[in-house]
């Protein structure tokens, strides 16, 4: 039996809806750990309030945030997954059904950049990227709705044969520029190398990596650790009103490239919207988070 349009449609719809109501478990655990460690009482209280908000939204099946962002999906297609579907159309239809029926309704945030008109629909919406993976017999779909609050602080710069020092200085400066405004504590995704487009994609995907996972590349694992410490020393704190917790994790990936080296940095706010499901040929849809 193949994976069908109906399964993809349903998953696209559910993933978005879940992402608005549930803060991922790894993120709640990281916020709780940060709360224990915080030395500033006001910051501790803000972290406690964030956890309370997450808990209430989940219990009541309501939104954590009023800004539902724009729909962003990632599709990983296993080479052994049996397929009989038109992903592009099915995901769009799933999203369209969602905006017509979701309770509570979502605000109109899809913006035409040329006219600034806002609605539920627009060119290239939903934004979907596809990837293939050898050997898997399933399709994995991830949804990470993106809103202005943290979205606007992403940055990319092109260097030529940079030293690690130049790279890390740039990453710190992007964090300084975002300051108090991206609903901290945040998750930072960083891409190093490749090309302009590939580097941005690496950074984005790193924001989807679960917190607490160790980078398999030792150089990057050490870089992640020291940059996490460095960004937290900035003192921005939860919601930007001061404290020891500005970032929950810095996640970095790299790619070989030419001597021109892009470095991309992007952020997820504390609610860290991210839901994932696997679709199997026997009709099963397994919610991963």
């Amino acid at each position: 039996m193949p994976i069908t349009d109906a399964m993809v449609r349903q998953t696209a719809e559910d993933l978005y809806s879940w992402a608005l109501r549930k803060v991922p478990d790894d993120t709640k655990a990281a916020l709780a750990r940060a709360m224990e460690k915080e030395t500033k009482e006001a910051a501790k209280q803000t972290l406690k309030l964030q956890l309370r908000s997450a808990e209430l939204a989940e219990q009541r099946d309501k939104f954590v945030c009023s800004d539902s962002g724009v729909p962003v999906y990632f599709v990983k297609i296993g080479s052994a997954a049996p397929l009989q579907c038109d992903f592009k159309t099915a995901i769009r239809q799933g999203y369209e059904h969602l905006v017509e029926t979701i309770d509570p309704p979502i605000l109109k945030h899809v913006t035409n950049p040329l006219t600034l008109e806002r609605g539920y629909h627009g060119k290239d919406m939903p934004i979907v990227s596809y990837d293939f993976e050898s050997g898997l017999d399933y399709v994995e779909m991830t949804c990470s709705p993106k809103a202005l609050g943290s979205g606007r602080w992403a940055a990319l710069e092109l260097f030529t044969f940079p030293s690690l020092e130049e790279i890390e200085t740039y990453i710190l400066d992007v964090a300084i520029k975002a300051g108090a405004q991206h609903c901290p504590p945040v998750i930072m995704g960083v891409g190093i190398g490749g090309t302009f487009d590939h580097c941005a994609s690496l950074a984005k995907k790193q924001t989807l990596r679960p917190l607490g996972t160790t980078n398999p590349e030792p150089t990057l694992a050490a870089m992640e650790e020291r940059l996490t410490r460095a960004v937290n020393k900035l003192g921005v704190g939860p919601m930007g009103t001061g404290g020891d917790t500005t970032v929950l994790g810095v996640h970095i990936d790299y790619a070989s490239g030419h001597g021109f080296t892009p470095v991309a940095v992007c952020f997820n706010c504390w609610i860290n919207r991210r839901t994932r499901a696997r679709l199997y040929g026997d009709g099963r849809i397994e919610r991963m988070e």
């Binding site: 309030l49 939204a57 309501k62 979502i106 605000l107 405004q181 930007g240």
Partner: protein, 209 residues
Amino acid sequence: MTGTVEHDLRLPLSEADVRALRVGDIVYVSGEIHSTAGIPTHVRMLECLERGEALPFDLRNGALFHLGSYNIEDANGDLQILYMNPTTSTRFNDLMPKLIPALGLRATGGKGGLDARSAQAMKEAGCVYLSFLGGGAPILTDAVKRVTGIGWRDMISHYRLVRIEVERLGPLTVAIDAHGNSVYDDTIKAMQEKRASILAELRADRERS
């Protein structure tokens, strides 16, 4: 809460109410607030004031918060807020220094703060900036008692100027007070001061690993 001063404020506010607040204090707000999340709404307010036209509501001694809300009119014609939550205030950096005195605001707020120009306007006019929890929709919406008015219904939901009666909206943090103190300006200054030492520590860490 140890070491934190809490205030229960009821709108409208006097200048003395506002001057009594200090950066870091925790505030709960009751009474009628005004909310919008739209830049076009702020521009429209300024245009109205410049032309001497009346706004949908008189905001003097009141509060204008940068909150996005989904508001509906139910079958009985009653207004309802389904949810509300702050938006980034720095988007209004160019507009708030004019709007704070022109509207006669005693409180504004949202998330992410306002820049030094607004802090100066707040010091002169007697107004504070309150930091809301971003991603706090369940907690903030619980404080809503009823919607008492929706201005500019020709705009999309979160751009409208909405008048909402709230009971103990909060906890909110005083992030810019009426004495020229701003947690945001302090953080920016501190980050610039610390940058060199943080970079030196990164270098030392790299050399060790």
